[in-house]
Structure formats: structure tokens, C-alpha cells
């Protein structure tokens, strides 16, 4: 066990799975990178933010493939490789680039098992970074996980910490279905204790990072950390929160959410993706339908406005859910007075 960053945890998961299973390969734009440069450097980049650095050196260029800048071709190739026996981990770099290869994901990879009557396996992982807060502007900052969650046949994973990232990525690689693995790009330097050994965290089981009496907060990815910070502050004011990290949006652990809401009677959902048809609306609908009579106050959502992610730092900061906004939402739901029916 030692302290590892989000970046190191992901690198270690890839490395250990590539050692364990020779069918695991990497492909993507600049997963090695910088080839042909001076001084014989082979992987000057190791991914645009250094996540795959060192893997070319260990596994060679038959297993770490730099691809041309054409998402449709290499995501399609990865899906094909998966069906024919490899376990490719394809890196889409920024999730925003999915626009160029959505057919390969949505109509091909996600549908193979179903269209071939359960006879095809597609053990494909697509890694991509997402999220605002990196000052990367509107075409490189989106949080598109609702888009993937919407498509049956895909599994969608959003790790909230280095420990979670390693265990969930290992599960993703071992999974026989296409998995979209989304890394918030602001988190790469966050550190925590991560076991040196490989381990797998199962999909579809939420993690409770804390248990409280008053309010349930459901948050995704980086928002889990913010929700816990807000809960720390609220604790000092006598409001105790449960914080749920669903880990995967598909499959979604509905049971844990419903049980926690039944315990607390209040729900705040923190989701950094665009607010229409996102995870917050999805969970709000599930809770309204399944647990309406356990609610003591209206469900509140802490979400961005329905606009592109602004480039200007002050606006980008305003755009994102914050600890302050989560705290305010929890306080507001606590202030709601239950009116007894007459």
C-alpha cells in the first residue's frame, strides 16, 4: 500500500492487467506519442496528460498502438478487435471527441451482444477524460456520461478517487461488455492510499463515503469529494449527511439510493453534466416514482446551467457545482417545512 495519484492508479491498473493478460492492448492518439522525435524518444507523451507513460517501453508497439487522429477508425478497430478475441483499451483522449465515433460505439459495440443473439462478447474499454475546471473550453470540457448511460449495452464508470479508479478500471478490463471509463481530468494529481496488488471493484454497487441521518447526497466522480467537503461543513452545523458514490451510472445501484433516501427523507443530487436529461434528472425520477412517500422535502439538484462550458475562468468556476452550492442545497432542503395533509 502506498500513496498514488489518480494518474498513477490508472497507469498501474493498465500495467498490471497487461502483465496478467496478453490479450489486453492499448490504442489511441498519443498513448505513446512523440515518436520520431529527437534522441530516440519513443513515448515522450504517454497520453496527453501522461497517464499511459512507460507502457510502450514495457509492452512494445505491438500492444501499445499510436493511432492516426481519426476516432471513427480506431474506435471501430478496437470494437472489432474486442469481438475477435482481444481486450482493447482504447483512449478517446477528450470525451468530447465521441462525436466522431458515436456510430462505432452506439450502433456497433453496444449492440453486438444483442444483435448476435448473445453469442458475441465485446470486451472493450474506452477511456476518456471529461469535465470542466481545466480551462479547456467548450469542446474539451463536457461531462458526457448521460449520453453513454442512455445507450443500453454500454457500462459506464466514473471513478471518484485513485483507489476507486484502479479497482474499477481492472473490473472494466475484465468485463466482457463494452465499458466507457470516464476520468475527470482535474483529478489526475489527487492522491490516496492505493494497494500495490491488483483488485477489482464490482460494477453496480454504490459506495457510501459517509453515513448520516438528515440528508442523502448522491454525487458522481469529482463531485463526490466536493459533497464530502460540504458534508464536513454541515456536520459542524449539526446536519449529518449520507454521501453516495454510485461508481457506475450503468448499471445503477438503485437499491442503495432508495434505501438511503428512505432513511433520511431528503435528497440532493450533485451532477456536473449538462442539466437536461442528466443523472440528476434520472435519479430524481427514480426516487419520485419509487420512494415518493419517504420524502420529507422536494429533491434538489446541484447542476450546471444549460450552456456550453465557458472558457473564462470566472465563468467556468460559476458554471460548476461547488462546495458552497452543495451546502446551500442541503441547507435549503433541511429548511423545507413538511406540511401535513388535512
Amino acid at each position: 500500500m502506498s500513496k498514488k495519484s489518480f494518474r498513477q492508479a490508472i497507469n498501474e491498473a493498465l500495467r498490471q492487467e497487461m502483465r496478467r493478460d496478453p490479450t489486453v492492448i492499448l490504442m489511441g492518439e498519443d498513448v505513446a506519442g512523440g515518436r520520431g522525435g529527437s534522441a530516440g524518444i519513443k513515448d515522450a507523451w504517454g497520453g496527453v496528460l501522461g497517464v499511459t507513460k512507460g507502457l510502450l517501453e514495457e509492452f512494445g508497439d505491438t500492444r501499445v498502438l499510436d493511432t492516426p487522429i481519426t476516432e471513427a477508425s480506431y474506435i471501430g478497430a478496437a470494437a472489432g478487435a474486442a469481438v475477435t478475441g482481444l481486450r482493447p483499451v482504447a483512449e478517446l483522449m477528450f470525451v468530447d471527441f465521441v462525436g466522431c465515433c458515436l456510430d462505432q460505439i452506439m450502433n456497433q459495440a453496444a449492440k453486438f451482444r444483442y444483435m448476435f443473439g448473445g453469442k458475441a462478447r465485446t470486451p472493450l474499454v474506452i477511456r476518456a477524460m471529461f469535465g470542466a475546471g481545466f480551462n479547456a473550453a467548450a469542446q474539451h470540457s463536457q461531462a458526457l456520461y448521460p449520453l453513454f448511460t442512455h445507450i443500453p449495452g454500454l457500462k459506464v464508470v466514473i471513478p471518484s478517487s485513485p483507489y476507486e479508479a484502479k479497482g474499477l478500471l481492472i473490473s472494466a478490463i475484465r468485463d466482457d461488455d463494452p465499458v466507457i471509463f470516464l476520468e475527470n481530468k482535474v483529478m489526475y494529481d489527487e492522491e490516496e492510499d492505493v494497494p500495490d496488488e491488483p483488485y477489482a471493484i464490482p460494477f453496480g454497487e454504490a459506495n457510501l463515503t459517509r453515513e448520516g441521518r438528515d440528508v442523502t447526497i448522491v454525487a458522481f466522480g469529482r463531485m463526490v469529494g466536493l459533497a464530502n467537503q460540504a458534508a464536513d461543513r454541515l456536520e459542524k452545523k449539526g446536519i449529518s449527511c449520507t454521501v453516495i458514490d454510485p461508481r457506475t451510472t450503468s448499471p445503477l445501484d438503485r437499491d442503495t439510493i432508495l434505501e438511503c433516501v428512505a432513511d433520511t427523507g431528503r435528497l440532493v443530487i450533485v451532477d456536473e453534466s449538462s442539466p437536461r436529461c442528466n443523472m440528476a434528472t434520472d435519479i430524481a425520477a427514480i426516487v419520485a416514482e419509487e420512494a415518493f412517500d419517504t420524502l420529507r422535502a422536494p429533491i434538489r439538484r446541484v447542476v450546471p446551467p444549460h450552456t456550453p462550458v465557458p472558457f473564462a475562468t470566472v465563468l467556468e468556476t460559476l458554471y460548476l457545482p461547488s462546495v458552497d452550492r452543495i451546502e446551500a442545497a442541503v441547507t435549503a432542503t433541511m429548511a423545507h417545512r413538511v406540511v401535513e395533509k388535512v
Binding site: L49, G50, G167, Y188, P195, E197, Y199, A200, P202, E205
Partner: protein, 380 residues
């Protein structure tokens, strides 16, 4: 406003950047600068970039010279109004540098004082946590099936007075390596003997819980000279019966709820089993190789759903003082297995306690162990 002093620090251009080199100042000290003016070229492993002034004022100092390599956050220059006296600037720099050095020390200088270490013992890597010092005979703590050294969290420090007290993770458990060989009591006793040798402990009091109690007894049989006395907490080996619903459930559970359900067998007061404890167990159980290791141990030690080792003859023959501690409400190994032992064996049967007395009534158990070790030192 005019008295503000603004530090210019090594910027962080990309997430991977940890340090940067001053490639060249573009502004001389004394020059007036505006927010957004290019101040200095910074070179990183990837790129050379102009760093723009975050403020308007006068560049009063270049703290770092051209060519210097500095960590992100280190002071490279100072901006302030010309009215701010030089002595204030100097004082500011001194204070900043001291704070910066202190904060980087705090990060790097976290020398583990009371932390477990990883030790190579034969073919195994074991997590070993040693506490206490003194001339007293050392005490070795051996946890049970599926446990780890944290099973002693309420006992380890409390017992570490005047002697070394060592807790460790058995092979296949905690953070130790996951190879459990044949998974037998003899195997674990052998690794334990190797550990003692490596720690240069000739003889120790050995306290074992559950399967660890069986290991302690086996050690007393195979390496009698290394055992000064035995504290057996709900030990394995004294009867055939064992709760296989717990054993199999523990091996198979991979979700919080399932783990929580099986952990409840361990204690009489079920409220002790919280989500945090289940999370900890799951973190261990998720590691590659753990499930197979536990299965190997269960098959070797509990073949056909019964304990395969009868250690009553060993206990009868053992030449050292023995105390047995058992919870009356034990749901894993029934307390009746403490019946019919030789009168020379000290027996403590604890009412309203389950399979983990060292956790459920730690103070009481610590007191018993302390008294037992003291009386035995006098007697021998």
C-alpha cells in the same frame, strides 16, 4: 493596496508539471508591470512558456535567477508598489521561503513512527507491526481466518508496555503476499517461526485468536522452545465443530451487504458491525488471489465442514502456561470446546460476548493477558 506584496511563484502549466526552469526573465527588477505582461519564460520537460504577471505593480525582486530549476509553488519573484520599503520585501521573502520549506518538509519528512512495515520472510512478504520496547518477553499476536493485524487494534498498543508486541498479517491475509502454500496450520506455524527468527526473538508469549490460536498451539508443538506461554482466544483445534455458513459466506461475499451479514456471526453485539468494517473487509477481499487463498485454507483446515486438526493432545502435552479466553455466545466456534481441558489451563468464559472478545471487551481481555504474562514471568 500600495502596501501589498505579491509573491510570483513557479506556475503549474500542466497537470504533470512538478518543477520548472527559469528559461529567461523578460522584465528587469524595478520595471513597472501590468496584469498579463509577460514576466518570465518557464521551461518544463514538455514546453517553454511565457508566464504572465498575475498583478499590476513593480517587479521588485527576481528571487530565482536564469537557469534555476524550482518546484511548482516556489518563490521566483516579488511584485510590490515602489513605496514598499526594501526591508519589508526582505522580510516577506524570508517568511515565504521558511513557510515553503516547512510545507515541503511536512510532505517528504513523514517518517513512519508507529506504522507497519513490509518484511520478506522466506518466500513471503509479510506486513508486520511492532510496538513497544523493553526487557519483557516479547508478545506475538496471531489473527484468525480472514482477519489481519487490525483485529488487535484495541489490544496491540495497550499491551505494548515493557516489551515488544508484534502483530502481523498471515500469508494470504491483510497486506501480506497471497500465497498460502498448502494452507495448513503447520504451514502457518512454520512461517510464524521464520518471522520470529527474523525478528531475532528467541522466545515469545504467543496470543492467537481462532485459527491463529490453532497456529499458536501448532507452533508450541513444532517449535516448543520459541513459546514462553500461550494465550488462546476462542482457538481452533479443540473440537470438530465450526460455523461453515460463516466460513463459506466470508469467502464468497463480494458486496457490502453480504459481508455485513456474515460478519455479524463474529460478535454478540451486532451493532458493532458497521458499514466501515464491511468496507475494510471488502477492500481486502477484492485483492487478486484472496478468494483462492481463503478457499485453500478452508479446504485444508476445515475439510468436510469440520475442523480437521485435533490439538487437544498438543494442548495436554504443551509444557508452558496456557490461558484460554472464550465468549459464551461464540457463534463460530462453540464455547463448549473449552470444556474438559486440563486444570492447569487457566480458563476465562465471558458472558454476553461472541467470537471476538479482544474486540468486544478489549479492556477485560487486555487485563487478563497482562496479569497472565506478569504471573508467568514471576513463576518462571
Amino acid at each position: 493596496m500600495t502596501h501589498d506584496i505579491t509573491p510570483i511563484t513557479m506556475p503549474k502549466f500542466g497537470l504533470a508539471m512538478t518543477e520548472g526552469k527559469i528559461a529567461g526573465w523578460m522584465v528587469e527588477p524595478g520595471a513597472a508591470i501590468k496584469t498579463g505582461d509577460e514576466l518570465v519564460d518557464i521551461e518544463t520537460s514538455k514546453i517553454t512558456n511565457a508566464f504572465e504577471s498575475p498583478v499590476t505593480g513593480t517587479l521588485r525582486r527576481q528571487v530565482a535567477g536564469n537557469g534555476e530549476m524550482l518546484p511548482v509553488g516556489a518563490l521566483i519573484g516579488v511584485v510590490a508598489d515602489p513605496a514598499v520599503p526594501d526591508t519589508d520585501i526582505d522580510a516577506f521573502i524570508t517568511r515565504f521561503q521558511a513557510d515553503f520549506a516547512a510545507s515541503s518538509d511536512a510532505q517528504s519528512d513523514s517518517a513512519p513512527v508507529d506504522e507497519p512495515v513490509m518484511m520478506t520472510v522466506g518466500d513471503h512478504t509479510l506486513r508486520v507491526h511492532e510496538r513497544g520496547e523493553g526487557d519483557g518477553t516479547p508478545l506475538l499476536l496471531i489473527h484468525g481466518f480472514g482477519g489481519d493485524l487490525k483485529n488487535w487494534m484495541l489490544n496491540h498498543a495497550a499491551l505494548a508496555h515493557g516489551r515488544r508486541v508484534i502483530a502481523f498479517d498471515l500469508p494470504g491475509h491483510g497486506e501480506s503476499s497471497k500465497d498460502v502454500g498448502p494452507g495448513t496450520l503447520a504451514f502457518f506455524a512454520d512461517v510464524t517461526a521464520q518471522l520470529l527468527a527474523q525478528l531475532k526473538i528467541r522466545q515469545a508469549h504467543v496470543m492467537g485468536h481462532s485459527l491463529g490460536g490453532g497456529i499458536a498451539l501448532t507452533l508450541a508443538h513444532t517449535a516448543p522452545h520459541s513459546v514462553a506461554s500461550l494465550v488462546l482466544v476462542a482457538p481452533a483445534g479443540l473440537g470438530p465443530q465450526i460455523n461453515m455458513t460463516f466460513i463459506n459466506g466470508f469467502i464468497e461475499a463480494d458486496r457490502v451487504r453480504a459481508v455485513q451479514d456474515v460478519l455479524k456471526y463474529l460478535v454478540h453485539d451486532k451493532s458493532l458491525i458497521g458499514r466501515r468494517m464491511s468496507d475494510d473487509v471488502l477492500r481486502y477481499k477484492r485483492l487478486d488471489g484472496v478468494q483462492a487463498a481463503l478457499r485453500t485454507v478452508a479446504d485444508a483446515c476445515f475439510p468436510g465442514g469440520h475442523q480437521g486438526d485435533d490439538l487437544r493432545p498438543v494442548l495436554a502435552a504443551v509444557g508452558v502456561p496456557v490461558t484460554v479466553i472464550w465468549g459464551r455466545e461464540d457463534e463460530i466456534l462453540p464455547v463448549t470446546q473449552a470444556d474438559g481441558l486440563s486444570t492447569s489451563v487457566e480458563r476465562h468464559i465471558l458472558p454476553d460476548i461472541g467470537h471476538m472478545p479482544q474486540l468486544e471487551c478489549a479492556d477485560k481481555v487486555n487485563g487478563m493477558v497482562e496479569d497472565f504474562m506478569k504471573s508467568k514471568v514471576v513463576a518462571t
